[in-house]
């Protein structure tokens, strides 16, 4: 395992390009045209390819591309103990299931460790493993038991905490919590950050938090400024905050100067909502702008968000450009 990280390590945020054929096969599974066994084999093959693509592009920290997941919610909702799923409620793999909690959530792990072990088996690179956070899950799972979302989120966080601990036991050293719904519901930070802290409590790994403006169907779900995160986010037990800057511009970098958060910054330098491939020079310039605010030792380089909605070739070229641009800046340090 190569865990010696260079300065300005490059990483993906989580997902890799979802091939059209895989989308069709996932949907075929929902329509009972292929078996679970076949789908599992297909997923294994796709994940191996995604890992190798990231390696070939020169990425330092790779993920499994999240290609087993239908979307950011269902993979977890299906595994969270006590959550009931209406399996007939979606006709296209990317849709959300109707899911509901009708009683107190029992505490049990989710069984994600196998996915992590699979990732480790097929790469020597450093790895990151991503998990959707309690706020986003609570926003999508209908609550028919808890008195409010805050109480529900705490139990979700406790279950996720068990899972993160299992992942650490299996060797995970870098875990990322995804909370794209923060930007749509800034007023929820009062209870969602305490829930996040419960989720990562006692987890002995680097903890990142990814907050974007949504990437559902490859488009933003909200617009605005990251200012809403501050100062509340300073209470979060985090090592890293991963944000999008390529599409939205660097104005919000000033927040790192203004509030001086103790976290590393995962800097989004690739616009995942555009098929236009950035040049290495463009990436380099974006990194230099961030270096004015955050020291190189605390800066990670990544796309704005997951690459799920990009064609495979575009995703690969964007990662390759990101790696090249990062190399240029490393040479200047």
């Amino acid at each position: 395992m190569t865990n010696q990280r260079p300065l300005l390590p490059t990483a993906v945020v989580g997902s890799y390009a979802m091939p059209g054929w895989l989308e069709r096969l996932k949907t075929d599974y929902f329509l009972r045209r292929i078996s679970r066994h076949d789908l599992d084999e297909i997923h294994d093959t796709a994940v191996k390819a995604a890992i190798k693509d990231q390696e070939a592009a020169g990425i330092d920290i790779v993920t499994d591309g999240e290609l087993r997941r239908d979307n950011l919610i269902d993979y977890f909702a299906l595994r969270l103990p006590g959550v009931e799923i209406d399996h007939g409620s979606k006709k296209f793999y990317y849709d959300f299931f109707d899911s509901v909690i009708r009683g107190k959530m029992p505490m049990a792990t989710l069984g994600l460790v196998e996915d992590f072990r699979f990732l480790r088996r097929y790469t020597d690179r450093a790895t990151k493993f991503t998990v959707t956070g309690p706020h986003s899950l609570v926003k999508r799972i209908r609550n028919e038991h808890y008195k409010d979302e805050a109480e529900f989120a705490l139990d979700v966080a406790r279950a996720l905490n068990l899972e993160l601990r299992e992942l650490v036991k299996a060797g995970a050293t870098y875990l990322q919590v995804d909370e794209p719904y923060y930007s749509g519901f800034p007023e929820d930070l009062t209870w969602s950050i305490p829930a996040l802290n419960v989720m990562v409590d006692g987890v002995e790994a680097k903890i990142g938090l990814h907050v974007c403006y949504g990437n559902r169907y490859g488009k933003p779900s909200w617009e605005g400024s990251y200012r809403y995160l501050f100062p509340a986010i300073l209470e979060a037990k985090l090592d890293q905050l991963t944000l999008e800057f390529a599409r939205r511009g660097v104005e919000d970098l000033g927040l790192f100067r203004e509030f001086e958060p103790p976290f590393e910054l995962g800097l989004g330098v690739i616009d995942v909502k555009s098929h236009t491939v950035e040049t290495p020079a463009m990436v380099g310039e974006r990194i230099r702008r961030a270096l004015d605010v955050v020291p190189a030792e605390r800066l990670y380089i990544n796309p704005d968000c997951g690459l799920l909605h990009l064609p495979g070739e575009v995703a690969f070229q964007k990662l390759a450009a990101m790696v090249e641009g990062t190399k240029i800046v490393r040479g200047e340090l």
């Binding site: 959300f96 169907y217 490859g218 933003p220 779900s221």
Partner: protein, 474 residues
């Protein structure tokens, strides 16, 4: 033989008697009797005063290798067909392919020469109106456009206002409020909308009006000049942009995710389209060939003193130049109107090996169509709404995450409606009109991240207009 009565018979239709005549005529028709077992007869009421159909037309079919198939359809327009004329028309249609002057070869409807006529109409609408002596809007079923209904506009402004207020309360309202109308025409609707918006702003004192950036768009700067007059009282907040309704993103890419509201009225029904048929478990593409019936072609040639054999070529040149092709412009328009009245479409069905192998229009994939026909009747002919789909997919990327698209038009919102009446194409003055497959747009929208909804246009009794609006799909 299977007889399809694709409309709800009324007193005027006289369908019952006509059905008897059809059967009698087929008994005595000189057609191959073996054909009868496979024959489909479709009785339609063509709702347009002018259409591309003869009273009786035959649709033949070819397989995916181009070989003739035994499948034959008879299409009868009950509005045109008379009991006396039916038998000879039927015999003639079965006996031979339509003669006359072909204006093109068989191909997809979206590529037909009729769209050249349609473009010409919008380029020279003033010249057309001058000769016909009435404004275009007077040929609409209600004699006026639903686009300009004051209450509909007031309600649309109020809905938009609610959105702005909600965004402002959440500190998510952008500093500039971008609104786009595609196909503004005279600018009458835009003017009413802006008047009402300013009025509401004054009443409620939120200060949204000065932040408004209203973009009026149409395909030509000449039309925009006319629209500019209509909105001259809102000069500070209005901009004028010539763009292709098929691809607004091409012109406005710099406004990606910025537009809070986009509106279109009667644009989709005027964009190129294609049709598809599902029959006997197989899919067929409908191909068309524009032609002028022999008698009408001869009359036009005589009236305009043109050699009959040169007519097709002359029409081709005319479409490139416009009414000024004739030394006397008025005479040019008269020629154009005569030709347009005469243009018919011959149709044939081309079997598709499967949907995956079909050359589908841009933006459509087999999954959209499969999903759409899942709930459709087993035998159905439907629009692919090629231009509407293209326009929709090239418009929604401009929407702000909380923004919405609103389209007033004639939509088929349930596939079952396709067997309850004729849905186009027809002629509306010098333009082409088609219903739009809303059910398909719903599928296309869902895959693009938008839920597509339809509401009735309840502001005018008996209006066929519906209002499409989008919400963000979670």
């Amino acid at each position: 033989m299977i007889l399809h009565v694709n409309f709800l018979p009324g007193e005027r239709a006289g369908a019952a008697a006509l059905v008897g005549e059809v059967v009698a005529a087929l008994e005595s028709a000189p057609a191959d009797r073996r054909m009868l077992a496979r024959l489909r007869v479709h009785l339609d009421w063509i709702q347009y005063r002018q259409s591309f159909r003869e009273a009786v037309a035959v649709r033949r079919a070819v397989d995916c290798r181009g070989a003739a198939m035994p499948l034959v359809e008879l299409a009868i327009d009950v509005r045109q067909a008379t009991r006396a004329g039916l038998a000879p028309a039927l015999a003639a249609a079965l006996e031979r392919e339509p003669g006359g002057v072909a204006l093109e070869s068989f191909g997809p409807l979206r590529a037909s020469v009729i769209w050249g006529f349609n473009t010409l109409f919008w380029q020279h609408v003033a010249a057309w109106e001058a000769v016909s002596g009435r404004p275009f809007e007077h040929v609409l079923p209600s004699g006026r456009s639903d686009a300009n209904h004051p209450q509909a506009i007031a309600d649309a402004v109020a809905d938009f206002w609610t959105l702005l207020r909600d965004l402002e309360m959440r500190n998510q309202l952008p500093p500039e409020i971008f609104v786009l109308e595609i196909g503004v025409g005279t600018g009458a609707r835009a003017a009413q909308w802006l008047d009402r918006f300013r009025e509401l702003d004054a009443e409620r004192g939120r200060g949204f009006y000065p932040r408004l950036r209203f973009l009026l768009s149409d395909y030509s700067s000449r039309i925009l000049d006319r629209a500019a007059q209509a909105v001259r009282g809102h000069r500070e907040v209005s901009s004028f942009i010539a763009l292709d309704a098929l691809n607004p993103f091409k012109t406005l890419a710099f406004l990606r995710y910025k537009l809070l509201h986009i509106h279109l009225t009667n644009v989709y029904d005027n964009l190129p389209t294609d049709e598809m048929v599902r029959k006997d478990g197989r899919f067929f593409a409908v191909e068309t060939r524009a032609y002028l019936p022999a008698a009408l072609a001869a009359a036009i040639a005589e009236e305009f003193e043109l050699p009959a054999e040169e007519l097709a070529r002359t029409i081709g040149k005319f479409l490139g130049v416009g009414p000024d092709y004739f030394p006397d412009r008025r005479r040019g328009v008269e020629f154009w109107q005569a030709v347009w009245r005469a243009v018919r479409l011959e149709e044939r069905l081309v079997e598709l090996e499967d949907l995956a192998a079909a050359r589908l229009p841009s933006g459509l994939d087999p999954a959209h169509i499969e999903e759409c026909v899942r709930a459709a009747p087993a035998e159905v002919r439907f629009h692919l709404s090629t231009g509407a789909v293209e326009s929709f997919l090239n418009t929604v990327p401009l929407l702000h995450p909380r923004g919405f698209l609103q389209v007033q038009d004639i939509f088929v919102t349930d596939m079952d409606e396709y067997r309850q009446g004729f849905r186009g194409p027809g002629k509306l003055d010098g333009s082409v009109v088609n219903w739009i497959n809303g059910a398909l747009l719903r599928e296309v929208g869902a895959r693009a991240g938008y839920d597509v909804h339809f509401a009735p246009f309840h502001y005018r009794p008996d209006s066929r207009t519906k209002i499409l609006y989008t919400t963000q799909r979670d």
